[in-house]
Symmetry: C2
Subunit: 246 residues, 2 copies
């Protein structure tokens, strides 16, 4: 988990790892699995989805694959390198099959909600990897698409870039936050929610008038993600910045 970066920078360095494209021999494991980057990433996503982020370890991944854990290091430099591949896979899943409609605001809204929803569908993986810059294929495609939406809408380049940045980081920020809550072990998750019904419910109106006046609203609202509202607020303000056409 420590030198992933150097590894990525020097992908061709003398290493255990052979680039996926250059692989010729594929020897099945004792248990018969034929390994590949794709198989490992898929298995990692499945493992984490079924048994939670705490269940993610190289050893367990090896077991799930039907291979010795150390075999994974023939395909990824480190667990962190593997995580980057998982992150990129998530981005790809989020954009799969989607096409822009030409309505920039609706398109951005849809993309934002898709990214958010797909992270929540794999919260454990999202929490581990969403904040990374992967530089891999799916990430590049996503950026090209979103930048295109803003530029085609008529935003000048500097605005398009900074608004894209605000938009995507808002989406990823909420994705991480909401995923993290979902990724907690079940009892912890329940306890975090229960706080709104216990600790906050018992505060005196004298010392905490604003909380006391809104406990019911708070307890209800905190169960939902605030992202849809935050996204709409952002898009509203962005629309106000759109230069008049021509």
């Amino acid at each position: 988990m420590t030198e992933r970066a150097a590894d990525r920078a020097a992908d061709l360095a003398a290493d255990r790892v052979v680039p996926e494209a250059a692989r010729r021999r594929r020897r099945p494991t004792k248990q018969g699995t034929v390994l590949s980057q794709q198989v490992i990433v898929d298995t990692a996503l499945r493992l984490v989805g079924q048994h939670g982020a705490q269940a993610f370890s190289v050893r367990r991944l090896g077991a799930a694959l039907g291979a010795d854990p150390s075999a994974i290091y023939r395909y990824f430099h480190s667990t962190d390198d593997l995580l980057l591949a998982v992150a990129d896979e998530l981005i790809g899943l989020g954009l799969h099959g989607w096409q822009p409609t030409g309505d920039w605001r609706a398109d951005l809204r849809e993309v934002g909600l898709r990214i958010h929803a797909h992270s929540l569908a794999h919260p454990q993986a999202a929490v581990l990897a969403v904040y990374r810059t992967t530089g891999r294929a799916n990430e590049i495609r996503a950026i090209e698409t979103m930048l295109g939406i803003l530029r085609d809408a008529g935003f000048p380049d500097p605005d398009a870039v900074s608004l894209y940045h605000a938009f995507i980081d808002q989406a990823l920020g909420f994705a991480v936050l909401d995923s993290a809550a979902l990724a907690l072990p079940a009892p912890a998750q329940h306890a975090d929610l229960a706080v709104w019904d216990t600790a906050y419910r018992t505060l005196s109106p004298d010392t905490h008038p604003h909380i006391a006046a809104t406990t019911h609203l708070l307890a209800a609202d905190m169960r939902r993600s605030a992202y849809p509202l935050a996204l709409d607020l952002l898009l509203t303000a962005v629309a106000a910045r759109l230069p008049a056409p021509e």
Copy 2:
């Protein structure tokens, strides 16, 4: 790291841990330190700040304290329980010494920037704990303050609550995202940034016209946090929702 929640729910259960208020005996460790929840939290923050999030482990914390690692379990049920205390400490640091001015928009802006800045000042700790609901003293104070700002500004209760939710989660989301980037080991952090100058710089205008047209802007913009812009966009949209007074 597994049953923290149950522990919190049953704070009084038959446990190793004595509530801080009920402590009578304070026996110094072999190396002379006198332990307390506060000392442990402070040391954890310092440790993580100096040596990075990867340096955080119960054993290292024990060493930094001058105590056996297992002594920590006399003060916290688990590492996760300790993390909640650290999170609350961060919130407290962020609000320390601040007073609302009465201008709701300026106040929210200030609080948002403070939360974000304080997380970045302890990125390693922020990443571990910012998304938790602690239910502890500082968190309660922060919520009361922010709800008050919105309600006093004239937002009806349901709006005040949902707008508070969107505001705080956006602040925390960006805090986690930007902290995570800062918390990466130095070489990894550098590599993630370098991607903008390498991978994205070499894309052809034919296949990726939008990225190609803005690479310089992208590389520059991605070095900064998008939070100030996102915050201003959010506040602009919120202001538009403020009911006319009286």
